[in-house]
Structure formats: structure tokens, C-alpha cells
Symmetry: C2
């Protein structure tokens, strides 16, 4: 057992071996066993794997291999594997499972995992899974589904551990020992008043280390905060990260306890939000996954490439205004992409920092003016440095000092614009309620392309021709 459970493969074989990634050799053997139709060997090979690793395995093999594996091993499927699967694969997998296997699998899950599992499924599949649950569990899941998507109500588990506020440590422990249906994981006992409003909580560590006659209310935690079931899940994840929460009670509009959110759920949300940010910044649909099909991928990427085509045409039309200048001096055509590219890069740098700072609540009304001033200064300084460099290069390359002067001025203008747009565009989008990660990049680079071409070609036309 010791070897299986020790996470320390890196030391022996250096960076070559991906730590924690599924062993290629093992994947090959599993696929081979599935190919050979050897159900027994397949089960033996997959038995020691963690649910999360089985889900990764199913995502990494081809669709045909996945079908083979599910055919032979599907009856072993448990709810945790389903929970871990990527959305794009999950529906397909659920579709292939025999009804009784699926029913068995979902019955072991906590209510929050069932909600997570079914909220993106088609109605018939949803009904099938709900039908497999006990009446009580089904009611809990259906209740959670009444909360808006991406809300705390969807994220919470209904299973809570509570105690009346007047209890002692001893009474609480006796109660826990009698309770047959404790959640798999819990970290606090929540103190509730007679109206079932949460008023405080006690960590299990304090419970264990306090004398039996200690009153619960004497060992409560300062960190206690409740979360509204309507709160957005992104805000919940932020609160967990900011205030180092481990679990937090969730309340309804009347402030009554309806569930609890634990840190592992918050960590998953944080991870998803980051993924969304990074994919949106790149203009990729935020549901993109390496397991998507070709058609899904094309469908996700076409829209932003289409937007980019429009903005590129816009920038090209600026160049079109100066065709005469270019035909007089072809050097302009050679140098103009440099001005646009430097602006685009500087703008992307600034906007990425701004988008991150907005996401982590570090860029607020309190400091936005100071940050804008700082970015403008940075733009000017960077502009001066590269104006000098590029001015000299251009003047020497085409043996035209005036050309060096023109490109130097254009660079300064464009890096200033890049700095200001890089900070103002995301701030304004955020203020308007749009996701700054989604659209900032296109706005900013379109602007720097257009300003870059216009400033350079316009100045050249004035000064050189």
C-alpha cells in the first residue's frame, strides 16, 4: 500500500516523468485489454485508480476506445467518476450506462455532486437520474435546482451538521455518535437557533480538544460568515480564498440554514473561473476542452476569428487611405506592422494585468485613477525607449533620418494609446457589467492596430511626402 499512496515520483526520474499524470504505459495496457475484450484484466488494471484519474483516462482515449472500455468496465462505474468527467464526455458516458448502474452510481453522491452532474444534462437524462434517487434526496436536488445557475444554492450540499446553540461539547459528541447519516466530509458543527438560523460554528478540532462540559458557544470561531443561496459562485470562491474559509453555511432569503459549501467546491469554482478567464482572453469559447470534437472546436473558435476578420478589415481600410503614400515610399509598408505590433503587445500586457486585478478585486474605485496614471507613465517611458531604438533602426535601414523620426513619434503615440486602452477598456466593460476578459483583447488590439497605422502613415504623409 505504501507505494501506491506516495506522491513522490519526481525525485527519481526528474522532469521527464509528468508527476501525477496518468502513466502512459498503464493507459496503453488498459486500451490493449479493452481491445482484446479482456474484461477481467481491464477491471484489475482500473481498480486501483482514483475516480479523477479514471475520468482523465476516459477523456484522453479516443471515442472508439472509450466505447470499448465502457462496454467492458461500465458496470464498475461509480458516481465519483461521473462527477469528475468533463461535460462534453459526461453526456456520452451517461448515455452508454445501463440504467441500474447509473442509478447505483448517483445514489452514493452528496446532493451537491448530483446537482453538478445533472444541471447540464438534457431533460430526459435529468429525469432518469432524478428517478434513481430516494424521495428525500430527489427533493433536495430539485430544491437546489430552483436556485439560479452558478449560484451558491447550486454549489452547496444539503447535508449539514447542526447543534442547538445551548448544547455542550459532550451533548454534541453524543449526538454525532448516534447520527447514522453524517456527510462524508464536514469541518464544522453549525450552531442554529430555534428558527434554524445559523448563528455561529465550532471547528471539529475545538470540539475534540475541549472538555465535555464546555458550552459550544464558548468555543465558536471568529471566521463565521454565512453565504446567501443567491450569491454568485465566483463571489463565493473569492470569499473562501480571501478569508481562508473551510466551510460556510448557506442561508435562504429568510436567513434560514439551507446547506453548506465546503472549500473543495470553492477550489473547483476558482479553477473554473481561471480557466474561463484565460480562454476568454484568448478569444476561445470558455467551455473549450482538449476532448472536444473537431466540429465543436470549429464552432467555438469561428465567432472570434470572424470578429477578428472584421477588425482586421477595419485596420486595413485605414491603410487603404494611404495607398498613395505607400506607392511613393514602400518602406512605409515594411515598417507599419512593427508600429501596430508593438502597440498590440503593450496593450495586451496592460489589459491582462487589469483583467487579473479586476478578478481579484485589487483594482477598484479606490485606486483606479492612480492605476490609470501609472499605466500612462509606463506607456510614455516604454514609448520613449522603443521610439529611440526603432527610430535609429529605421533611419539606418532605409537611410532616411526623417523616417526614423516619424516612426519614433508613431511608436510613442501608439504605446500611450495602448497603455490607456489596456486599462480603461477592461474597467469600463466591468463597470457596464460585461466580462472584461471576454472582449477587452479585441477592443484593445483593434484600437492599437488602427492608431498604429493611422499615426505612422499619417505622420509620414505629412512629414515625408
Amino acid at each position: 500500500m505504501a507505494d501506491d499512496t506516495t506522491i513522490q515520483r519526481a525525485g527519481d526520474d526528474g522532469r521527464e516523468e509528468e508527476d501525477f499524470a496518468l502513466d502512459r504505459d498503464l493507459v496503453d495496457r488498459i486500451v490493449a485489454a479493452a481491445d482484446a475484450g479482456d474484461a477481467g484484466q481491464l477491471k484489475d488494471l482500473m481498480a486501483p485508480l482514483h475516480a479523477a484519474d479514471i475520468a482523465d483516462l476516459l477523456e484522453q482515449v479516443s471515442a472508439a476506445e472509450r466505447r470499448e472500455i465502457l462496454l467492458l468496465w461500465g458496470s464498475e462505474m461509480d458516481g465519483d467518476v461521473l462527477s469528475e468527467l468533463d461535460d462534453s464526455i459526461r453526456e456520452e458516458v451517461i448515455g452508454t450506462l445501463p440504467k441500474h448502474v447509473l442509478a447505483e452510481a448517483v445514489r452514493e453522491l452528496d446532493s451537491d455532486d448530483v446537482v453538478d452532474l445533472i444541471e447540464d444534462l438534457e431533460k430526459p437524462q435529468q429525469a432518469q437520474i432524478l428517478g434513481a434517487l430516494d424521495a428525500g434526496d430527489r427533493a433536495a436536488v430539485e430544491q437546489s435546482l430552483t436556485y439560479p445557475e452558478y449560484s451558491a444554492g447550486r454549489l452547496m450540499q444539503r447535508e449539514v451538521v447542526t447543534a442547538p446553540e445551548h448544547w455542550t461539547v459532550g451533548e454534541t459528541i453524543d449526538h454525532l455518535r448516534r447520527d447514522e447519516e453524517l456527510p462524508d466530509q464536514f469541518y464544522h458543527v453549525i450552531l442554529v437557533d430555534p428558527g434554524h438560523h445559523p448563528v455561529a460554528y465550532v471547528t471539529l478540532g475545538k470540539l475534540l480538544s475541549s472538555r465535555r462540559d464546555t458550552a459550544l458557544k464558548d468555543i465558536t470561531e471568529d471566521s463565521f460568515r454565512t453565504i446567501s443561496a443567491r450569491q454568485e459562485e465566483g463571489d463565493v470562491a473569492y470569499a473562501f480564498n480571501q478569508y481562508h474559509l473551510i466551510s460556510a453555511p448557506v442561508v435562504d432569503d429568510d436567513n434560514r440554514l439551507v446547506g453548506v459549501i465546503t472549500i473543495d467546491d470553492a477550489m473547483s469554482v476558482l479553477d473554473e473561473e481561471h480557466e474561463e478567464d484565460i480562454l476568454r482572453l484568448a478569444g476561445v469559447g470558455d467551455e473549450s476542452s482538449i476532448a472536444d470534437t473537431v466540429i465543436e472546436t470549429v464552432r467555438q473558435r469561428l465567432p472570434w476569428l470572424g470578429v477578428n476578420l472584421c477588425t482586421a478589415l477595419l485596420a486595413a481600410s485605414i491603410i487603404g487611405l494611404f495607398q498613395d503614400s505607400i506607392s511613393h515610399l514602400v518602406a512605409l509598408a515594411v515598417l507599419m506592422p512593427i508600429v501596430a505590433s508593438m502597440g498590440g503587445n503593450a496593450g495586451t500586457q496592460t489589459l491582462t494585468v487589469a483583467v487579473r486585478a479586476l478578478a481579484t478585486r485589487n483594482l477598484t474605485e479606490n485606486n483606479v485613477l492612480r492605476v490609470v496614471r501609472r499605466e500612462a507613465m509606463v506607456g510614455v517611458l516604454n514609448g520613449l525607449v522603443f521610439a529611440l531604438l526603432l527610430g535609429v533602426v529605421a533611419a539606418l535601414w532605409f537611410a532616411m533620418p526623417e523616417l526614423g523620426l516619424v516612426i519614433a513619434l508613431a511608436i510613442i503615440i501608439n504605446l500611450m494609446v495602448a497603455a490607456l486602452a489596456g486599462i480603461l477598456v477592461p474597467v469600463v466593460l466591468d463597470k457596464l457589467g460585461a466580462d472584461p476578459a471576454l472582449a477587452s483583447g479585441t477592443f484593445v488590439t483593434t484600437l492599437t492596430d488602427m492608431v498604429g497605422f493611422f499615426a505612422f502613415l499619417g505622420l509620414a504623409t505629412l512629414v515625408l511626402l
Copy 2:
């Protein structure tokens, strides 16, 4: 108390109000109190704030305001606020604190927080803080500092709760009740053998809900994994997220228990790694913060803009080869940035998905070939769509059907190159041990710029002139 601790401001006033962000009005009042030199009011205003919010406050105000606040309120500073501060501000704040305040502040912290606090400080400040600790704590911190930066050894806290493997629940609870120095937060009791090797763990929930005569070894968890103190912290965060760990024992090279890592530490690392990825993808120094000074910011951004200047010059030199063609047909200068820009965007989309998939271990040797094939197909399909669109636009714009054909071919070539480069560049960089987030973007867009210009201008020269 109820109002202070309820996280549900959003419902009342919609998206306008940033949830959890520091209230602007409160910040204004705090700054006003500091300006007025009213230490009493300042303390009253800041007393209810969480340490993380005080840290945010200090980061958001200007340097002058920060000095004023620290002068009047600094004696209230506690260790948690120091822990939460951004690196760039932390050094400055520590420098302003009276010695006894600093000593008091660090003494309350767990060993992992002290390590995190001092590892980036200059030697004299490090020595000052180490000097403030008790001998035992100092030894623990110094021991942690012997592990490499960004390793599990730096991340772990030394305070662990253990029990001999043969104990019962009753014996363990009695022991915990006697122990005066339990960590603030702990989630498992770790079972150790006589050689102090961890062999299993028991959740506090199980301890509380089991009868006193239950043997600990009958209620251990399957999720038990140990982490090597030399493991990279990024791998540790991945393991926590992948396997839903709450805490994990850390062992030295002889497999002896040396500490424990908890999920909140892993969550912070995950957050930092994401931040690094997103900033590196944008070519911004990964330590960038909205609180940096102008000079720091310029210093971080100049290098990548410099790299971009070189690659832009490279692309310009390709255009330089075709000056004759451009002077014959200025339309080429108008259209060529579109080909480059579409390629750059498509390449960035693919590489972002690839970088994410590498970071989450979803792109591995098991599926890289299939993913490359898929991306190539996506490139071809996107290429065909935009070739058609842009071909028609160009042919109509300049009334030259052959020009439409040339740009259509160039777009297909460039989107194919973008797709392949977008996946292969990050995979190869990762294989070579480089961070794919750091350099992929520059490689890929340089390639798509050069190929875009070369394919379009080259084909035009062959076909049209």
C-alpha cells in the same frame, strides 16, 4: 454581529456594488482619519476588518497614505495582515514597524506562514523576524527554509497532530483534550508507526462520530496520500485539486513525518500558478501587481516588448523582400496585415487551449497525436471558411479576382501553420522543461506573422506580377 458577518450585499443593489470588495466609502473615511491624524477613529474604523481586507486596503491606497496609516495604526498590525500583503508592499511595511510590534505579530503565526513571510525578505529583515521567534519555532522555520523554494517543504506547517497506530478513539480524544498546543486548524489525526512514519489518517468527523472503544485503524480514510517535502508546490496543488484532499502529511527522504499541508495553502498555490500562467501568456513578468511602482512595471514589461520588437523586425524583413511587388500593387500592403492577424489569432486560440491542457495534465503523451490531428483539421476548416470570405472581399474591394485567390490560399496556409504551431510549440517547450506559458505566444505569433507575409506576398509575386 449578524450584519457584519453576512456575505450577501449583491441582492440589494445589483452588479453596481462590487461584492466583497472594500467599500469605497470606508476607504475614504479611513484615509480621511489618517490625514487628520485621528488615531482613535482610524483604529475604530479598521478594527472590524478582516486581515485580508486590511492588506488589500494597504495595497490600494497611495504610498503616502499608506505611510500615514501605518504611523497611526501600525501598532495594531498583526501577523495575518503581514501574511496577506503583496510582496512588493510587504517589505516596505515591515520596514516601518517598530521592532516589538513586528516580533509580536510574527509570534502568532503558524510556521508555514512565517516561512512564506520571510522567504522573499532581505537577510537583515529575515534575521530580525527569526530573532523574534521562540527557539523551537525558529528551529522549525529554519528547517523549512532548507527545502528548495516552491517545494512542499516550504509550504507545509510543522505543527502536526498524530497518534500511535494502535490507539482507540477514546485515547485519542483524551490526548487532544490534554494537548495545549494544537494547531489553529487541523482536519486529520495522522497515525504514525514507532519510527514516526505516517501510515494512515482519520478525519475529525469520524473521530467524533465513532464510539470511544473503536480502534483508529478501523476508521482510516482511503484518500490517504503522503507528499515528499521535495515535491514542487505546483504538483502539490494539482494533487489537492485532482484528488479532493483536505490535508496531506509531508515526509522527508526517509519517509518520516515532517509536517502537513492543508487545502487552504494548496488553494493559494493554485491561485498563484493561474496568475503566473495568465501573466506569462501576455508577456508580463509573473510577479506583476497593480501595486507596483512605475519603474518596477517598466522593468517587467520592457524585456518582452524588446523580444517583440525583434520578432516584428524579422517579420518586417520578410516584407522587405517584396518591396518591388508592393510598389507594383499597393493593395498587397493593405491586405497583408489581415493574413498575419488571422494567423496570430488562430494560433493564440490553439496555444491557449494547449497551455491550459498541459497545466491541468489533460494533454499528455497518451493523446497528443490525436490532439495534433484534431487541431490540423480545425485549422483546415477554419482556413476554408475564411479563405472564402476574405477571397470574395478582396476580389471585390480591388476588383481583382486573382488577388482574391491569392489571399484565400495564403489564409489557408497560415491557419494551418497557426493550428500546428499552436499545439506543437507549447508541447515541445513543455517537453524541454520550459514553461509553455512563458514563450509560446511569441514563438507562435512570430511564426504566423512571417508565414502570413511570406505566403501572401510570395504567392502574389508568382501569380499576379
